[in-house]
């Protein structure tokens, strides 16, 4: 077993990112993600990496994309309003296929909202925030230790699929301090993007060889001399107006994620073996759900928890497998009802889907969740 250390969620995010190979961080101060910038500023020059505080949120993601284009694993972190500002360039990275990790430590919105209060209000923005159709991978940790391990996975997925990965934290986890068992040195698996061994300008930069789902590209400065654009492009990387080429590109971008569902999607099921009621939650909400579930079990209720770790793509196959044998699903989240829409879409035809949420800056308590589970059950029995 590795060393055990006390860490804050935001700190674990930086340390995990550095372990994953992050060597460029570009950011702008915003509560409650600021510690990610502060700790990056302290730690990156110690490991030969670069921290830069950019002039705004848009510049931060643009700078991180630039770093990645030149071959350095790059990250930016923000919270609600900043996440809104980053949306255009997120779409750029998705279309141009630039590996990148973007962290959103969610706070209560909309607008400036309640800057120091927890929220999970950006989950649908993570899916649809940037304009146009686009592929997306989003992950959400529910403990400090998972933050450390999952941010490594975020980098690995972004390298493997050449796509931005959204790391959807919330204030609960960002500011939580708890023990983290660090992985043994040398035990961390690191994935690096495919690069060209012999860069050649004659090679089509975005060509997809059979058996592959992403292009093999050299970082800038290696002699491949290719073009990157946010316009629809052909395999050479140059703009096109051809409907056939545009359709082929969009289809590949979507399929490179959906075809690898099994590799990307992760979830946690607690006590689901014999459960007839499911609490669906993710991120920091899991903390209250665990207590609620234990309490309900003690009362003899057959209650389980389903927690997506990968939020997008949504773990719909697994949820669909569980749903037919459930009497009810209670979706608990810190918003006015976002992922509940997805749960209803998948499971709604098999069992009732109830929602319990908080959107006033306070947190869901185990009692809130237990009451939602019991209340409806009692209602049904009566």
């Amino acid at each position: 077993m590795g060393k055990v250390v006390l860490m804050q969620g935001n700190e674990a995010c930086v340390e995990g990112a550095i372990a994953a190979g992050m060597r460029l961080y570009a950011g702008y101060p915003i509560t409650p993600s600021t510690e990610i910038a502060e700790i990056s500023a302290l730690r990156l020059p110690q490991v030969g990496g670069t921290f830069i505080q950019m002039e705004d949120e848009i510049a931060s993601i643009a700078c991180a994309i630039g770093g990645s284009v030149a071959g350095t694993k790059s990250m930016t972190a923000t919270s609600g309003p900043g996440f809104s500002l980053k949306q255009e360039n997120l779409g750029y990275a998705a279309l141009a296929e630039i590996p990148l990790v973007v962290v959103d430590v969610q706070r209560t919105g909309p607008s400036t909202g309640m800057p120091t209060s927890p929220s999970q209000g950006d989950m649908m923005m993570a899916r649809w925030g940037t304009h146009g159709d686009h592929p997306v991978i989003a992950l959400s940790p529910s403990s400090v230790e998972e933050t450390y391990r999952l941010i490594i996975r975020a980098f690995n997925l972004s390298e493997k699929y050449r796509t931005p990965v959204l790391f959807m934290m919330d204030e609960i986890i960002g500011h939580l301090r708890e023990g983290v068992t660090l992985p043994e040195e040398g035990s961390i698996e690191i994935e690096d993007r495919l690069t060209v061994r012999f860069p050649d300008p004659k090679r089509k930069a975005y060509e997809i060889k059979s058996g592959r789902f992403i292009p093999k590209m050299a970082p800038f400065g290696k002699g491949q001399r290719y073009n990157i654009t946010g316009l629809m492009h052909d395999e050479s990387g140059f703009p096109t107006n051809s409907p056939e080429v545009a359709e082929k590109l969009m289809s590949r971008l979507m399929h490179k994620i959906s075809d690898h569902y099994d590799d990307i999607v992760q979830y946690e099921a607690v006590g689901m073996e014999d459960a007839d009621v499911m609490i669906f939650c993710y991120g920091g909400t899991m903390r209250a759900a665990i207590s609620a579930q234990e309490e309900l079990r003690a009362q003899g209720k057959r209650c389980g928890i389903f927690r997506p770790i990968t939020i997008w793509p949504f773990p719909e196959r697994e949820l669909r497998d569980f749903a037919p044998r459930l009497k009810k699903i209670v979706v608990a989240e810190h918003n006015y009802g976002q992922m509940v829409l997805e749960v209803e879409r998948i499971a709604g035809k098999y069992c009732p889907v109830e929602f319990v949420g908080k959107y006033n800056g306070t947190v869901l308590t185990p009692q809130d969740i237990a009451k939602a589970v019991l209340g409806q059950e009692e209602g049904k029995e009566a």
Partner: protein
């Protein structure tokens, strides 16, 4: 100017073709700019400066934003990136940070660099990061069809200024100068040799450099403001240009309506990536001790 063959193969034309085969992507030419547009000339000035300095094609990166100017990147045979509107400097900053050995050149338009991208311009200048920005300044939003830009002179017309522009206009080189750029200069499409020299000096400068080049847009700005043909607009540049040195001896009244070209500032300030490399080295040394 860059691709036209007159039939009369002068020395100049030959030289231009050489530049095309050496530094451009001929398969993507001719470019999409309108007849008479100044952008092709500025693009040629950039590659001539690159050639004069003997920069490596493999270690030079061209970054552009969105707009007419942004199309330059795709025609040039380097690692090229056509980014989002206004953000070219921010993307370029990341590229330079990740690999300070690269020569990073941004080609941008006036709206791109001083309206939507104005914040990045002033902060890159303040930070003195070692990139070179060449502005194709045509006083109008050309790609979207002739709306007034931050460099459209007061009173001039655009499709969104049907009664004349009420805004005051930006002096982009002056703005960068005020923000602390270590090299700030202004050239023009007419003054090819001088502009090539300015771009060369800008690239050679270690810190942040900007060369604001007065372009011409006969299609939109010219037509809306009755400036005549492309040739007339070039003649205007020829007849109204004064050097910084001449301008220094002129009154404000005399300077009105003049195109002041030359170097606003050439100074040595610490460059950002160099400073950062020193920080990394210092921390490594402290750990050893």
């Amino acid at each position: 100017m860059s691709v036209v063959s007159t039939g009369d193969v002068s020395e100049k034309t030959l030289q231009t073709s050489d530049l095309i085969y050496k530094y451009m992507r001929p398969e993507h030419l001719p470019q999409i700019w309108c007849p008479g547009c100044g952008n092709g000339t500025i693009m040629r000035d950039v590659v001539q400066a690159i050639d004069n300095l003997g920069l490596s094609r493999d270690k030079t990166v061209i970054v552009s934003g969105i707009g007419c100017s942004s199309r330059a990147a795709g025609y040039m045979d380097f690692d090229t990136i056509h980014t989002t509107h206004g953000r070219a400097i921010a993307f370029a900053t990341g590229i330079k940070l990740a690999n300070p050995e690269l020569e990073v050149i941004v080609i941008a338009g006036d709206g791109d660099i001083s309206a939507i991208g104005g914040n990045h311009l002033i902060h890159a200048a303040r930070r003195n990061i070692g990139i070179t920005v060449v502005v194709m300044n045509n006083n109008i939003y050309g790609m979207t069809g002739g709306q007034y830009s931050p460099t459209t002179p007061t009173g001039d017309y655009g499709t969104t200024a049907p009664y004349g522009n009420l805004d005051r206009s930006f002096d982009i080189a002056g703005l960068a100068y005020g923000a602390g750029a270590s090299y700030a200069a202004r050239g023009s499409v007419y003054h090819v040799r001088e502009t090539i020299q300015l771009i060369q000096d800008g690239i050679r400068n270690i810190g942040f450099s900007i060369i604001d080049v007065a372009s011409i847009c006969p299609t939109y700005y010219g037509r809306k403001n009755k400036k005549g043909s492309a040739v007339d607009m070039l003649k205007w540049q020829k007849e109204n240009a004064v050097t910084m040195e001449q301008a220094a001896r002129m009154t404000d009244e005399q300077k009105k309506g003049k195109l002041i070209i030359g170097v606003l500032r050439q100074a040595q300030y610490p460059e950002f990536t160099y400073q950062y490399a020193r920080l990394i080295a210092r921390l490594a040394k402290e750990r050893e001790e």
